[in-house]
């Protein structure tokens, strides 16, 4: 089962985060090594979302700095940039899938 987190950007630009499925995760992370983020807001304003030569990527180290409470985890440490499959699921709603 993947680890799923929800991020909602407020009008002021700050993001409220909460886990959807992450309870009981071991130090090794989700057993399928998949991280999913359901995000509402403007992703281009966030410095942990990157554009690379092959498409979108998420800077997991940057994400851990931005949201240490949820993402400063052993299973996400020193992963750096990871390829991300980002799809739009509605107006300013995005589904981000990352294979760790």
């Amino acid at each position: 089962m993947p680890a799923v987190f929800i991020g909602t950007m407020m009008d002021a630009g700050n993001v409220k985060w909460r886990p959807r499925f992450s309870s009981g995760l071991s130090d090794d992370g989700p057993d399928d090594q998949q991280l999913i983020i359901e995000f509402s807001g403007v992703l281009s304003n966030l410095n942990w979302v990157k554009l690379t030569s092959y498409g979108y990527a998420i800077d997991l180290d940057g994400l851990a700095v931005a949201v240490p409470k949820l993402f400063d985890k052993k299973w996400l440490k020193n992963k750096g940039l990871k390829k991300a499959d980002i799809s739009e699921s509605g107006n300013r709603n995005y589904l981000i899938k990352i294979q760790l």
Partner: protein
């Protein structure tokens, strides 16, 4: 070098002798004895004369008086060092197959013309690895010639970044464009749903390995 490239008979000898060298028994042993050769003494080596292409080159180049001749010899030497890692039987079989299909002369000519043109000493090594892959049947002969031509057209520092193109960090888009222009990466135009390239919804170009790029990455990563 211009002198012997303009000499048709000499080129014909070179193109045949380069593949005779590929098929030579104990190639590795001979090259080992010539391990310390420099540009200054490359034409003085008695050991290298045992390798057909160097025998021909020495005659053609009139004792290799020019720097260009010596660099050419060095490129052939580097190429053969890679090829020599393949067992003799496989090398001999490869050249025999080219011969039986009437492709020996054309392939030899392509290798000679290519090696002569290469502008960096890492490239003959890469071309050697490509020919090794052809000898081992991992790619066909046409693909090996196409890949070698792409190596020739590349800027070497960009080419060495090719294996990184599908890593998580990706590569600089200028490098990706350069590798796409020589046929190793495929450009795809996709909508930028996040607007990271400028305007949200505008198109952006992303780069992925095509079949030639994938084949070359496999060869470079060996």
């Amino acid at each position: 070098m211009q002198k012997h490239i303009s000499n048709l008979g000499a080129v014909q000898s070179l193109e045949v002798s380069v593949l005779d060298s590929v098929a030579k028994d104990n190639l590795n042993g001979v090259l080992d004895t010539a391990a310390e050769l420099t540009l200054d003494n490359i034409f003085e080596s008695e050991e290298l004369k045992q390798i057909p292409v160097f025998g021909t080159l020495l005659k053609v180049a009139k004792l290799g008086s020019s720097i260009r001749d010596r660099l050419f010899a060095r490129k052939i030497l580097t190429f053969l060092r890679e090829v020599a890692a393949i067992p003799f039987e496989k090398r001999a079989q490869f050249v025999e197959q080219l011969s039986s299909k009437g492709n020996k002369q054309r392939t030899g000519e392509a290798i000679i013309l290519l090696l002569e043109r290469l502008d960096d000493m890492t490239k003959p090594e890469i071309v050697g690895k490509i020919v090794c892959a052809a000898i081992l049947g991992e790619i066909d002969n046409e693909t090996s010639l196409k890949l070698s031509a792409m190596v020739d057209r590349s800027y070497i520092t960009d080419l060495l970044l090719l294996p990184d193109s599908e890593s998580d960090s990706g590569i600089d888009t200028d490098v990706a464009e350069s590798l796409a222009s020589i046929g190793l990466l495929e450009r795809s135009i996709v909508p930028d749903i996040l607007g990271l390239s400028g305007k949200k919804g505008a198109n952006m170009t992303i780069y992925t390995l095509n079949k030639f790029g994938k084949a070359l990455v496999r060869i470079l990563n060996k």
